[in-house]
Amino acid sequence: MTPRRTTRQDAGDNPPPDRSAPGPGPGARDAVVVGGNRIPFARAGGAYAGVSNQEMLTAALDGLVARFGLQGEVLGEVAAGAVMKHSKDFNLVRESVLGSALDPRTPAYDLQQACATGLEATIAVANKIRLGQVESGVAGGVDTISDAPIAVSPGLRRALLAAGNAKTFQQRLKAFASVRTSDLKPDAPRVDEPRTGLSMGEHQAVTTARWGVTREAQDELALASHQHLAAAYEAGFFDDLVTPFRGLARDNNLRSDTSLEKLAALRPVYGKTLAGTTPSMTAGNSTPLTDGASTVLLASREWAAERSLPVLAKVVDADTAAVDFVHGDEGLLMAPAYAVPRLLARNGLTLDDIDFFEIHEAFASTVLTTLAAWEDDTFGRERLGLDGAFGTVDRARLNVVGSSVAAGHPFAATGGRIVATAAKLVAQRAAETGRPARALISVCAAGGLGVAAILESA
């Protein structure tokens, strides 16, 4: 097979990694975040109605290329994915690269880990950079609900396949004779968990009830998300993170004028049938279905330096956990509560060592149940194997420029949004204080998955 990809690497004083060694361990060399680009996130059925995943991902890539002058550059790879994907998009990311301003010889692959796709892609590319397999890469994700794949029913599919294989007109007729009226109804994609039939919101409603998270706490977190995001936009924080698309310059779910009163007026939408609980999850403290795409440019320090590109942060480490929600053991979106303690312990860090917490707001209550679990003695002892509670997150460090409740959550695109945001935050903080700054990223995902990562100013 081809050896290491050679774009413009091994220049300067940095020797190539020792290939005879069993493999460089963590920190063998750094993978750094150069920057990111995303398109504004749009509520489903709105600004991006009819826009395909490929168009959105290509736009996000092109914005990244424009920001960093990568026209015609052969990158090590582009790794990205989509949760909602048409079957024709089997090579979605490669096709997007071919349609972008990148050199068409840039390799690409699709990956998918539900809502953690973007973060997992970042980890994948960063690891290849750390191993010396590539010098640079783009991680990203894209999703559209507005152009979601609609499948034909199994009955119609079988008939179509049979008809396709038929040799005579009679055989073809016969193939379709088996089709029933009900088979003509298209299958819309489901956002329910396949094994439980519960939507993510219903799952989280159960977890919310289990941890006794109040409506007020959720609304306060949602309000903070909107206020933080709006303030960050006003301050120009996203000027070099977002490129407008299709007439949208900002995330159109953002309600800078919302208030606790407005949020409190919304009717609950999840957990309405749970016994003994007051339903508390509303459209206001949950993420809407959203369209969007995001990208992150990762590189070795050498590659970035050769091109005079900025280095915002290095990817320190990452961890993925999963929980058994199917058999009632744990809440669907609680895996980060396990991934984060493990990740911090492995790196000799505590919650106090983190300057910025970027906890994906699948729902406001997802963040709150995670925090509650970490503050809970029993959870710490019985679930995390600690002496007591894991710890308390300083809320002043949490989602300081807003998160998914305000920005929206195009599943696979959220990871890239958060990584680029966190990288910029630590870079800014380090520039202000002259001291290293750290960000902890935590993303929960369908299927009981949770991915966490640490970024550090570089």
Partner: protein, 462 residues
């Protein structure tokens, strides 16, 4: 943005009809394409002293043109039957009295009927100053009037422009001055298609001319340029032309224009910088980006501008203030930061977009005209600050240019506005961009504090 009328009167049966009706028939202008000949047809060089001594200046021009590979003739009669002059260069640097103008200008007049479509007339003269003998000043300034008038008489897309040697160049014949050569080449070329009736003063012998054709082909090689308002229209075209001429271009526009900006940046293989130029630190951020990413900053093109048209009687601060803030205040602040930084490359260039509205005024545009006239004032006053750096600052004043913005003008008004110039048509964004690229080039180092109109010699203003 398409000038349908221009197309109709130049093709097919509608062309015949227009001829019969005596309708104005604007010509299709010859525009620059890399590799095309500088001038199509023979070039005639005339001098004020052709019928007496000295001939040095005229000879020097002829030698320069020959060196550029032109077919140079010295006698109006030296034209084959059926042939047409590609260009006529009139050297008037040595005129002493108004009567000295007659021989050369009458000789020029005899060639105009045989001037090729998109032909060129370029005069070379000296600036009249207060210290001149009155007769000398009268003769020198007389060129100004003659040039502007003959430019209005030219047909078929031909243009007339003049190069004026400033007082500091009194002792030279001008041809050793890099910017004179550069201006001559620019006016002869198709790059100046929509520049007409303009006199550009070369004030100093600063600047360097390319040594060969390859150099003329990429005059901005190795330079880093910033273009504000680069997402669309004229700004996007400026970015393209600067990149074509070899510059690395940083494309700047407000964040909401970022998608179009990215497309331009990718097309010119530059970088996109989403930035509101009214931000306090805009100049510094532009410097940081250009120097940080590309190692230097040579050229700044202040193109970003907005309009909020209202009659002054109806004007409020909502419509007045933003126009001034974007079109002039932001430029002033950025220039201050750029100049104070000490981080500009040697011989930096600033080119700022003015407007014919800022020169002649325009009903409903007091705010816009104030800002654009302000640009002209700023350019003149900033010029002395740039000179010590070997740098220049100039203003380019577009007339009616076919853009998305002018496409919104009501149809009849638009048709009238288009024809109100000697070329009887609107210019294209590329015409503005070519002029800016010329002023930004190393060879134009002797042109500082000037205002060059790209207006097809609009009937109003200078």
């Amino acid at each position: 943005m398409t000038d349908t009328y221009l197309k109709l009167v130049n093709a097919g049966s509608t062309k015949t009809l227009a001829k019969k009706l005596g309708l104005p028939r604007p010509a299709v202008l010859r525009r620059f394409v890399p590799g095309q000949p500088l001038v199509v047809g023979p070039t005639l060089v005339l001098g004020s002293a052709d019928h007496g001594a000295p001939r040095d200046a005229t000879d020097a021009v002829a030698r320069l043109l020959v060196a550029w590979g032109l077919d140079v003739r010295r006698d109006p009669a030296q034209l084959e039957d059926g042939a047409r002059w590609g260009a006529v260069v009139v050297v008037l640097t040595e005129v002493e009295t108004p009567t000295d103008l007659s021989s050369a200008l009458l000789a020029l007049g005899s060639t105009l009927r045989t001037l090729a479509p998109s032909g060129r007339v370029v005069t070379l003269s000296r600036a009249a100053t207060e210290s001149d003998v009155p007769a000398v000043a009268a003769a020198r300034h007389g060129v100004d009037g003659a040039l502007r008038s003959l430019a209005k008489e030219l047909r078929g897309g031909a243009t007339g422009n003049g190069i004026v040697l400033g007082p500091d160049l009194a002792g030279t014949d001008g041809l050793g001055v890099p910017s004179v050569a550069a201006a001559l080449r620019f006016f002869l070329s198709a790059k100046s298609a929509f520049v007409d009736g303009q006199l550009v003063t070369v004030g100093s012998s600063a600047g360097t001319v390319p040594s060969d054709d390859a150099g003329w082909g990429a005059p901005l090689a190795g330079k880093v340029a910033v273009v504000t308002g680069a997402a669309r229209g004229i700004g996007a075209q400026i970015a393209r032309v600067l990149a074509r001429d070899g510059a690395t271009v940083v494309c700047v526009d407000v964040p909401p224009a970022g998608d179009a900006l990215a497309k331009v940046a990718n097309a010119v293989r530059g970088t996109a910088l989403q930035l509101d130029i009214t931000a306090d630190d805009a100049g510094t951020r532009i410097l940081d980006h250009a120097v940080g990413r590309h190692g230097r900053l040579d050229i700044v093109v202040h193109n970003a501008g907005i309009t909020r048209d209202k009659l002054l009687a109806n004007m409020t601060s909502d419509t007045w203030d933003p126009v001034l803030a974007v079109n002039i205040t932001a430029q002033l602040r950025m220039n201050e930061q750029l100049l104070a930084s000490g981080r500009l490359a040697d011989a930096p260039r600033i080119v700022s977009l003015a407007s014919t509205s800022g020169i002649a005024g325009n009903r409903g545009q007091t705010n816009y005209a104030a800002s654009k006239a302000g640009v002209i004032g700023m350019a003149r006053a900033t010029a002395p600050l740039m000179a010590p750096l070997g740098g220049t600052v100039n203003a380019v004043a577009p007339g009616f240019i076919e853009t998305e913005m002018t496409a919104k003008i009501p149809a009849v008004t638009r048709q009238v506005a288009r024809r109100l110039n000697a070329l009887q048509q609107g210019g294209l964004p590329v015409d503005v961009a070519e002029t800016i690229a010329f002023l930004a080039s190393p060879a134009a180092g002797g042109i500082n504090g000037e205002v060059v109109r790209v207006c097809g010699q609009n009937l109003v203003g200078r």
